[in-house]
């Protein structure tokens, strides 16, 4: 993006009717690692690619529980995300204290949208540089909401945001019709399949896939490493083999299959180094 004379303040319009600061905030979302959200008739699932650092042992927390019935995954500035998460948790807690019931998720994200909008209209504040996928289950069923720094709140059947998320979105669009009737396991596998497309080849040794789920009679929970590994294996078995085009993307680094073999902590056995063509061959010999 190039600098121009209309992008110094949030409160400056460009002659084309654009707010550049808000659009630049959207760019911050695209810098974050990808995350995918999708729902069936009974469950809503969040999958996130978390960056680990070789020096420290802690995972970047991309999935944040908000309340028993709602959680979110983020892409963008984690500091901004923590503020937003804190706001949502406070709102949910206050609602439970006053009304002895869970905050309807549509209203929660509507309030969040209003809060974000205020930051796009003041000269002394900047938009939050974080995009969120809010997943929840309430009386009206499962929900996936996409919230962006522009304060747009979208009700989605499935959505992916973050770096290289277009391939994830394409997968979701292609398989959208099946999600409604999926079981919990199938839904998670679809999500993992979707996010595989967003694995680049440069950072892939540092990325782990984390899963969280909420649904009917199932409070929001993030899976442990062991459970993540189970679903990764399941997705690999159920998933379609990579097309030739996608193999080309992973040339020069680990292929997706090898990365999945390594497991979430990245310390599993390395792949056998066989060529991609061999791994995906349908002929016997393995």
């Amino acid at each position: 993006m190039f600098r121009n004379q209309y992008d110094s303040d949030t409160t400056v319009w460009s002659p084309q009717g654009r707010l550049f600061q808000v659009e630049y905030a959207m760019e911050a979302v695209k810098q974050g690692a990808a995350t995918v959200g999708l729902k069936s008739s009974d469950f809503a699932v969040l999958i996130a690619l978390c960056r680990t650092s070789k020096d420290t042992n802690t995972l970047q927390r991309k999935i944040m529980p908000v309340d028993a019935h709602v959680g979110m995954s983020i892409s963008g500035l984690t500091a901004d995300a923590r503020q937003v998460c804190q706001y949502m948790r406070t709102e949910c807690m206050a609602y439970r204290h006053s009304y002895d019931s869970e905050f309807p998720i549509r209203r929660l994200v509507a309030n969040l949208g209003n809060k974000l909008q205020a930051t796009t209209q003041r000269y002394d504040r900047r938009p939050y540089g974080v995009g969120m996928l809010v997943a929840g289950y309430d009386e009206q069923g499962p929900h996936i909401f996409q919230v962006m720094p522009t304060a747009n709140v979208l009700n989605c059947k499935a959505m992916a945001i973050g770096a290289r998320s277009q391939s994830a979105r394409t997968y979701l669009e292609r398989n959208m019709e099946d999600f409604e009737g999926c079981t919990m396991d199938e839904l998670i596998c679809h999500g993992i399949q979707a996010i595989r497309g967003s694995l680049g080849h440069d950072d892939s040794s540092n990325l782990t896939i984390n899963v969280a789920i909420v649904g009917k009679n199932l409070p929001f929970k993030m899976f442990t490493d062991a459970e993540n590994h189970i679903y990764l294996t399941m997705a690999k078995v159920l998933g379609q083999p990579l097309s030739g085009e996608q193999d080309a993307l992973s040339e020069g680094g680990m292929s997706d299959d090898e990365m999945l073999d390594q497991g979430p902590s990245g310390s599993g056995m390395p792949g056998n180094g066989a060529s991609d063509a061999d791994i995906n061959a349908s002929s016997s010999g393995h």
Binding site: D100, A118, T119, R125
Partner: protein, 268 residues
């Protein structure tokens, strides 16, 4: 209250002039107008927040049956011992799931009902078909009333909240001026607590809920007893019914008065 619009709006200026008020331009000592001591002292010769009710509604009775709830209250608001307003509805339909029966200071009932109506309008403005449930309203009322009592300025009310939740399960609870709340199959305030509750408990089948017919029969009997024995009741009353099929206030009904037994009383 503003539906979260502009919740981050800051005042246009701070520490500056306020329209209509005296602005301390020099910043020096101001001669602050003090209210006379009679109006600020608490105690027998001054003012204090009133804990006495002025215009009062008498009892409210609520009974839970298998399909919903019924709330009954007479239509009298008394001014001390004077039967001042004789045609006042004290059972209100709040939304399609909730009924509210109010007793105690009637001005306070009207005040809290106004707040509740505002909440219902906010719900409608959200336009998402989510209506408040009776349990949530009762919980909210306990928070408000407890806050008022802790500030030594109570809303002097004793209400019955009844209704059905989304699955059609009936809910019946009492919320009082201290912020106390409890749920039961029969809830009563005022004199009905002493006269009606034992009657209803006696008739309650051990293993099941009341049927609608049993419940309305009990209401009729209890309102009759209350009219005969509570000196702050009249013979006209309304009944609110809330079930999965709908919610509304019916009436006014009349108690079947029969004072011929009075002649059997010695000294009559």
């Amino acid at each position: 209250m503003y539906n979260n619009y502009n919740c981050l709006a800051q005042p246009l200026w701070q520490n500056g002039p306020v329209p209509g008020e005296f602005y301390n331009f020099t910043g020096g000592q101001t001669h602050i107008q003090k209210l006379p001591r009679e109006l600020t002292t608490a105690g027998p010769y001054g003012t204090k927040h009133s804990t006495a009710a002025i215009t009062t509604g008498s009892s409210v009775l609520g009974i839970r049956y298998d399909g919903g709830v019924m709330l009954a209250a007479d239509t009298l608001v008394s001014y001390g011992s004077l039967a001042r307003y004789q045609n006042i509805e004290r059972v209100f339909k709040i939304n399609k799931n909730i009924l509210l029966g109010g007793s105690g200071d009637f001005a306070d009932i009207q005040s809290i009902k106004r707040s509740i109506d505002q909440k219902m309008i906010e719900d409608q403005c959200c336009d998402d078909n989510i209506e408040m449930k009776p349990k949530s309203l009762a919980s909210w009322m306990t928070r408000v009333l407890y806050n008022r009592r802790s500030r030594m300025n109570p809303l002097y009310i004793d209400v019955v909240v009844g209704g059905v939740d989304t699955e059609g399960t009936p809910y019946l609870a009492n919320v009082d001026l201290r912020g106390r709340s409890h749920e039961d199959y029969v809830i009563a305030t005022g004199f009905a607590r002493h006269l009606a509750i034992p009657l209803v408990r006696e008739k309650k089948p051990k293993d099941r809920d009341f049927t609608a017919v049993e419940a309305s029969e009990l209401i009729r009997t209890c309102m009759e007893v209350l009219y005969y024995r509570d000196t702050r009741n009249i013979s006209q009353y309304t009944v609110g019914v809330c079930s999965a099929n709908g919610c509304g206030v019916e009436g006014p009904f009349q108690v079947n008065e029969n004072w011929t037994f009075a002649e059997t009383i010695k000294g009559y």
